[in-house]
């Protein structure tokens, strides 16, 4: 072989050599990384846009409403014509009430599900349950809000007689349901990352599955589990539609769970659906509230980041 192909060989090489000098190809090669970098810069611009927008409009807000009365005020009465009050504490308390109930609902269930999936379930069971949890995570929050308002609240009212139609309890529980998949799947990831030899070591000593889960796997996966809870908390703080539909629009500076409340997110929605004129203190107040909300979630995400970084297990 070889010889008959010899003349042909030159031609293919020539064809290749001819296209090697292709200027368009070279120009593309140089332009592509620049274009892609600009595209990647969009996400940075988004962050700058978010922070810039919030800061600028919040600063304008503080020219109309004193900063101190905003962060210490116990009354949020933006729509009062005579005596508008912009004390954010009631909105923060409303947010924290819902978040608190959501977390105490979601953590036990989410963690149990994670332990079950990671330590007890067979592969087949896992293959069925995990997609179902994913479906739970994929349901739009507007649907959850409707569910809270039309099903969970009436159900709770039969048990708790004094429960108002808008309250903190029902949206809190439903937000909890919404964040269960997040806690379950992130915690399960953390537990599955614990190497099997550690489990086998304990099982070989005669430990039961429960003892392995609680005394060996949980401590080893603790940082991942904590991070999942913090991230889920952040999600609960930022949740909007469930609390808008089922929580009410009554900012309240108290610790009750049965009365109507308002969260930071629900206030932003209330103003957006109303007709507050551009340039009024009410208009700027949604940015001040949005900024506060942003700081809360940023803090949570930062904590989660620190937890995973600091306690990263070295197996």
């Amino acid at each position: 072989m070889g010889n008959p192909a010899a003349p042909k060989r030159a031609t293919v090489r020539q064809m290749i050599a001819k296209s090697a000098g292709n200027k368009r190809k070279r120009a593309a090669e140089r332009a592509v990384p620049v274009v892609l970098f600009l595209i990647a810069a969009v996400s940075v611009l988004t962050t700058i846009g978010i922070v810039g927008t919030l800061v600028a409009e919040t600063v304008t807000f503080f020219t109309k409403v004193p900063f101190w009365s905003f962060i210490t005020g116990r009354e949020w009465l933006p729509f009062s014509n005579k005596d508008a009050q912009f004390g954010i504490l009631p909105l923060i308390i409303g947010t924290l009430k819902v978040t608190f109930i959501a977390v105490i609902t979601a953590v036990p269930i989410g963690l149990s599900a994670a332990i079950y999936l990671s330590e007890y379930a067979s592969d087949n069971t896992r293959r069925i349950i995990k997609p179902v949890l994913e479906v739970l995570a994929g349901i739009p929050t507007i649907v959850y809000g409707f569910f809270a308002l039309t099903f969970v609240t009436p159900l709770l009212q039969t048990v708790i007689p004094g429960l108002k139609i808008f309250n903190a309890l029902s949206p809190g529980i439903v937000v909890g349901i919404m964040i269960i998949p997040m806690i379950a799947s992130l915690s399960e990831d953390a537990m599955s990352a614990v190497p099997n030899p550690i489990r086998e070591g304990a099982l070989a000593l005669g430990a039961t599955r429960f003892e392995v889960a609680v005394k060996v796997v949980l401590p080893a996966a603790l940082s991942g589990i904590l991070a999942s809870v913090v991230l889920a908390t952040s999600r609960a703080i930022g949740e909007t539609m469930i609390v808008s539909l089922a929580g009410g629009a009554t900012p309240a500076f108290n610790l009750g769970f049965t009365d109507s409340i308002q969260t930071m997110t629900a206030y932003i929605v209330q103003v957006s659906t109303g007709d507050a004129g551009y340039g009024t203190p009410i208009y700027y107040s949604i940015y001040a509230v949005g900024f506060t909300l942003f700081l809360f979630t940023l803090l949570m995400n930062w904590i989660a980041h620190r937890i995973t970084k600091r306690f990263r297990e070295a197996y």
Binding site: M1, A5, V12, I16, S19, A20
Partner: protein, 276 residues
């Protein structure tokens, strides 16, 4: 030791084309001069001097971690895909320094084909795998592509096995067939040199034999550099052999001489299986 090698060679049924009569007259394809290479702080290649000649099979042997793979990947500058690589010295390919700023690396790699340790066909049809190279170099005429594909598959001694299913996915083939598809893919752009980085290490003995036979045939048209951890393989198929150890060339000579009468003690120890 020598007799063992001879016997292996006969058993493999390969014709003894490696003529010791090949003198140093064949033109140089590659000339490596005082090459040094660092991965970060790790000094991986030390003062390498190595000529590679036309239409010969040059084998590179040595224990794992000796730098033989690094060296072959330096010949087409694939080594630069790893971050933090520095080199000094020069490698002349057809008298031109490949580290020259003005030397487009794509041009070098077009002239120098490579076959890898693990068969790595693309998840495409057999046809598209072989036509990949010509296509990226601007050849779109279907007729010419058809010709190139057939010629390359014949050149890689796999045409008869796959000619009826050129449109099936290359992943449906066996490991040995995949590796020969990869060789055909490299042949399709009609390279000058073919670099083979342990091409049979992932293959069964029968496929290995086929690839070895193929290397013998390819020598007629191409210059071949082959890295192998298998000394018998080097003895069977190569004209010259370089023995690498800890990033240095310990010995470089005609294969028959190296395996029968190594100059260095360390070479002898290695080829007689005392380490590595």
């Amino acid at each position: 030791m020598v007799q063992v090698m001879e016997r292996t060679r006969e058993r493999a049924g390969l014709k003894q084309t490696a003529a010791p009569a090949v003198p140093d007259v064949r033109p140089l394809v590659y000339d490596t001069k005082l090459l040094n290479l660092w991965y970060g702080n790790h000094h991986a290649l030390k003062n390498i001097d190595l000529p590679i000649r036309e239409n010969e099979v040059t084998a590179i042997i040595g224990p794992s971690g000796c730098g033989k793979s690094t060296y072959i990947k330096t010949l087409n500058r694939m080594v630069e895909l790893v971050d933090d690589v520095r080199t000094s010295g020069e490698i002349l390919y057809r008298s031109r320094n490949i580290f020259d700023r003005n030397y487009p690396v794509e041009e070098l790699r077009t002239r120098v084909g490579m076959v890898f340790q693990k068969p790595n066909p693309f998840p495409k049809s057999i046809y598209d795998n072989v036509a990949y190279g010509p296509r990226i170099h601007g050849i779109r005429n279907r007729q010419i592509l058809d010709e190139i594909v057939e010629k390359s598959l014949r050149g890689a001694a796999i045409w008869d096995e796959v000619k009826d299913r050129l449109n099936t996915n290359a992943y449906s083939l066996s490991g040995g067939q995949q590796q020969r598809i990869c060789i055909a893919r490299a042949l399709a752009i009609e390279p000058d040199v073919i670099l083979m980085d342990e091409p049979t290490s992932a293959l069964d003995p029968i496929s290995t034999l086929k690839v070895e036979e193929l290397v013998q045939e390819l020598r007629e048209d191409y210059s071949i550099v082959i890295v192998t951890h298998n000394m018998q393989q080097a003895a069977r198929i190569s004209d010259r052999t370089a023995f690498f150890l800890s990033g240095e060339v310990v010995e470089f000579d005609e294969t028959d001489k190296m395996f029968s009468n190594p100059e260095h003690k360390r070479t002898e120890d290695y080829i007689s299986g005392r380490f590595g």
